[in-house]
Point group: C2
Chain length 284, copies 2
């Protein structure tokens, strides 16, 4: 299979991410349909030409004609949905997803999947602090990373198609990581940072400080506005990794506390020099 | 005294902050001179019309004619500089500063100061991750907070003049806090956040993650690029407050670790709802 505009694309789960995929692919000339249990989401998307057609149930015709199915569901419903409806998939179809954790999802899906279809996982590292197709926007991909997460069971062709989807959506960077390495990376750069932001907001009532906060505080807590249903699920599905990342961070935080308490100016400066040098590498 | 363009302004310490003050005040039509031990800074500022004139020493004429003196020095040299040179201050002059911590500075200065001049402290909560007058820019004040930090010894007139300086520099918000409340606030919203950003960069070597980091990680670590000489001094001058803020944060972080370890989804969600609700208040 080669990604071209004759292929029919189906998106299952039309929230912020599914909606943003739909917008991006429709704008590039693809025929995009969608399934979502929320009728308002489907109506909104049809009215705004985000999708060509949509359904609140697993429409047989739509499933049978779709060459590519993109799953943008909560992890806990993803596997069941595939189990229930995979008899309707088109033979040769390629499935992909947007799930934020991988080890606990990818192998399970591949294990139960029909042999004549293929699941290639991907993680678009993009988002907003708002939800729903109403807030979807394909521009969230412009500066973002798109990570293909293949297993040994994936074909070169499926990986190529998955990559082409990322390119079509204009992601800034496309890379590839195995499931375990992906989850470790995400545990550090995304989940740990969200834990920190949450704790900064919950550790004390800072409401009276609203008038005094500068950019630093706002930047560090922006992601403290969080969809609790999705993120609690993602945290728990990656629990062991996240706990170990949290532990690494809190040990270092304890070290910093101790050197400050001792008033050891030279070691404080050394930590700051190290953080400055490392952070320089992340400037783009 | 009323802040008007006939007043002569002197800036002592022409780095990023002193330079940004100089630019802003010069653009508004004030006569601004500066003192800095670095000759290149003075030459750069003169050449770029950031100041009218400048000196690498405590120039007697400049000090004797200045109605307003703005100190943008490191805290540890500020007090000594005033002690050494205050015999040259113009009678009736108003002194102000940009120092990031207050309790340990303000009372000491007021105590040793000549009775015919007045020191009214201020904290412009603005900055950049780069240094020096070469990088100064009055636009850093546009979205920033300007906090006047008066003591019981300050006159209403000096407070008014200090406020007028903040208005002239186009700060977004101007407010007032006593020294102790200021230092507690800054310990939380600024110093604690910098500690967290530093520890995120130093807790593990994340260089191999450069290609995968999204906005969350970049936002949380932007301030990990830090001027170690200035910030180690500010941390140590506000040590007890900062330690207590760090302790509050790490206790909450430990709580979050425990509920995640137990897999208590409902309490995780509750924490996320609380952080979301609190963070909403900080959106502007």
């Amino acid at each position: 299979m080669k990604l071209d505009k004759n292929l029919k694309i189906l998106i299952v789960g039309l929230g912020l991410m599914g909606g943003s995929y739909a917008r991006g692919l429709s704008k590039k000339g693809f025929s995009v349909k969608a399934i979502d249990i929320n009728e308002e989401s489907i109506e909104f998307a049809k009215k705004n030409k985000i999708i060509e057609d949509g359904f609140t149930y697993a429409d047989e015709d739509a499933l049978k004609e779709s060459d590519i199915i993109i799953f943008a569901l909560y992890p806990h419903v993803f596997l069941d949905w595939v189990k229930t409806n995979q008899h309707l998939f088109k033979s040769g179809a390629i499935l992909t997803d947007v799930t934020g954790v991988k080890t606990c999802v990818v192998y399970d899906i591949q294990k139960i999947l029909r042999e004549d279809v293929e699941f290639i996982s991907a993680h678009p590292m993009a988002g907003r602090e708002v939800y729903g197709v109403e807030n979807s926007d394909e521009k969230i991909f412009k500066d973002a990373n798109y990570i293909i997460v293949p297993t040994d069971d994936n074909s070169a062709n499926a990986i190529e198609v998955c990559k082409a989807i990322g390119q079509t959506l204009d992601f800034a960077r496309i890379s590839s990581l195995p499931p375990k390495a992906h989850d470790e990376m995400i545990g550090f750069v995304s989940q740990l940072t969200h834990c920190i932001a949450i704790c900064l907001m919950t550790c004390s009532n800072s409401e009276h400080l609203v008038d005094y906060t500068g950019d630093s505080f706002r930047d560090l807590t922006r992601i403290a506005r969080i969809n609790e249903n999705m993120w609690s699920e993602l945290f728990l599905l990656n629990k062991d990794v996240l706990l170990s990342q949290m532990d690494k961070f809190r040990k270092e935080f304890d070290v910093f506390y101790d050197i400050l308490e001792k008033g050891d100016e030279e070691i404080i400066k050394e930590k700051m020099r190290q953080s400055t040098a490392r952070r320089e590498l992340f400037n783009k």
